[in-house]
């Protein structure tokens, strides 16, 4: 770990005034909340901030379900949200995605806000022994393109970066049209989660739309996403404590045995949590007949680009959608 000054502000305004910047390796000041990802990044010298600003005790950790829907305080832990009775009853796919993430120890500590801001698991980003990573060192190149890229993205990639966003939670939340509440020195704003993460493009080192000083204060999920038949299917290399190779979050509004509306997002395949509206449109009004589901799921491959080792994900993600829709549709 490189030396840093640790600030422990007494209130949130003092923390915001220190203008830390999330999701950029070239930022000299960074926030720390639960710290499960940040401490790893510090230990591996991936992040070398001059100053670390603690948000411990400064952010809302309440979990509320009301007429407006669900509100998750940014400091609520993964374990608290996953075990919350009303989350389990009304928004089960969120609890399911969380319980399929990380380990019990990490879930006791990691927060909602931090989960959305966790950095990619691309091995070339995580290991400073590799010279080239545009996300870690802007302009240095991408080692994953032409390298070991089994874990990398097939959707939303650019010639500069093919790193996957690793969050399971974000995949479930983006399927439910979640909104990120942000506080900052310039005031508060709300950002749809679908617009919160940036595509890598020419600037893969800028991962979110957060400005300097801004922090996530809460995540909200609209009430019309409650009570849907849902499933979070996670395909991974071992049964537990592993990131997704491919995942599919599906929430269905059913009309008898037919699909009135499907909400579908993919994980493990995109440079950001990946919603597939073209598949949703094709499934609207459809039955759960397998051939019809396969036909609709095939549309997820639009624009997908394999890099060699990860070509299999393009087929696997379609099958994951079909399987998740079948499981969700069979729920009562």
């Amino acid at each position: 770990m490189y030396p840093f000054a640790l600030e422990r502000p007494r209130d949130l305004n003092a923390a915001l005034a220190l203008r830390a910047q999330a999701g950029r390796n070239d930022a000299p000041v960074e926030y720390i909340a639960g710290g499960t990802d940040m401490v790893q990044l510090l230990q591996e010298n991936v992040r070398r901030p001059e100053k670390l600003v603690s948000l411990a005790g400064l952010l809302d950790d309440r979990i509320e379900v009301g007429p407006q829907g669900l509100r998750l305080g940014a400091a609520a832990t993964m374990a608290e949200v996953a075990a919350h009775a009303e989350v389990v009853e009304r928004f089960p796919i969120i609890a399911q995605a969380l319980l399929n993430s990380a380990s019990p120890q990490v879930r006791n500590q990691a927060t909602m806000g931090g989960n959305l801001l966790q950095r990619t698991r691309c091995p070339y980003f995580r290991d400073v022994g590799y010279v080239s990573c545009n996300k870690r060192v802007p302009g240095s190149g991408c080692s994953a393109i032409g390298g070991e890229n089994r874990w990398n993205a097939v959707l939303g990639t650019s010639e500069n970066c093919i790193a996957v966003n690793p969050s399971d939670l974000a995949v479930a939340l983006v399927a439910l049209d979640a909104v990120v509440e942000v506080g900052g020195p310039g005031g508060d704003r709300s950002i749809p989660l679908a617009d919160f993460h940036r595509l890598p493009g020419d600037t893969p080192h800028m991962e979110t739309v957060l400005e300097a000083g801004e922090v996530i204060t809460a995540i909200t999920v609209p009430a019309d996403a409650a009570g849907l038949r849902s499933h979070y299917l996670k395909v991974r290399d071992r049964a537990s404590f592993e990131f997704a190779v491919v995942s599919a979050a599906v929430a269905l509004d059913m009309d008898g045995s037919g699909i009135r509306r499907a909400r579908i997002a993919l994980g493990g395949v995109g440079t950001k949590p990946w919603r597939v509206p073209q598949v949703e449109t094709a499934m609207a009004g459809a039955s759960l007949e397998p051939a019809r589901l396969r036909q609709a799921a095939a549309l997820a491959a639009e624009g997908a680009q394999g890099q060699g080792h990860n070509d299999f994900k393009i087929e696997l993600m379609q099958r994951a959608i079909v399987r998740a829709v079948e499981i969700a549709g069979a729920r009562t």
Binding site: Y2, L6, G35, L52, P104, V106, G129, F241
Partner: protein
């Protein structure tokens, strides 16, 4: 070119700021320490308080050998900066027994021979105590899922699961750790 020279030279050398005053509550006792901001809870326990029962395996939250309880909940002490856990009640493996009376899970680990080299054992026991307290020790399958944050390179998993089942039967799911 980053990576081609030493990391320190590429980044520019930066000297460590002055130590921070940190008060840690560990196994019921309060300790006043002066710590570099980089000090993890694990390093504070081992290097400053000489509580070496918590082990450093990976230092990256992957192996679970450093598991402790914080306000009764299991966490990985290597993923916590010590200066950010002031006021929290930390319980380590050294704080588990009541005098000479082992915690039922410690006794079960001996009875079931739930280790070979023993390096992961204190973390397994701390995670196992939490697993039982949470009510997640009702079947071998459930125990395996909820103990997935603790790795054992010797592969003593079958005996670890058996020990946790035994202790869960003895303690019920409500006993404090």
């Amino acid at each position: 070119m980053p990576g081609a020279s030493s990391p320190a030279a590429a980044q520019g050398y930066r000297s460590a700021p002055a130590p921070l005053d940190v008060v840690l509550r560990v196994n019921g006792a309060e300790h006043r320490l002066a710590l570099d901001a980089r000090t993890t809870l694990l390093d504070a326990l081992r290097e400053h308080l000489h509580l070496t029962g918590s082990k450093k395996g990976c230092g990256l939250g992957q192996c679970g050998a450093c598991t402790v309880l914080m306000d009764g909940k299991r966490v990985k002490s290597c993923l916590n900066l010590a200066a950010l856990v002031e006021g929290r009640e930390i319980t380590t493996i050294e704080g588990l027994a009541q005098g000479d009376q082992l915690h039922p899970l410690q006794a079960a680990f001996i009875e079931r021979d739930a280790f070979q080299c023993g390096y992961c054992t204190s973390g397994q026991i701390m995670a196992g105590v939490a697993c039982i307290n949470e009510g997640h020790a009702n079947s071998p399958e459930e125990i395996r899922e909820w103990m997935s944050g603790n790795l054992c390179r010797c592969g003593a998993y079958d005996h670890i699961v058996a020990a946790i089942r035994d202790a869960a039967a003895v303690t019920g799911s409500t006993r404090g750790g």
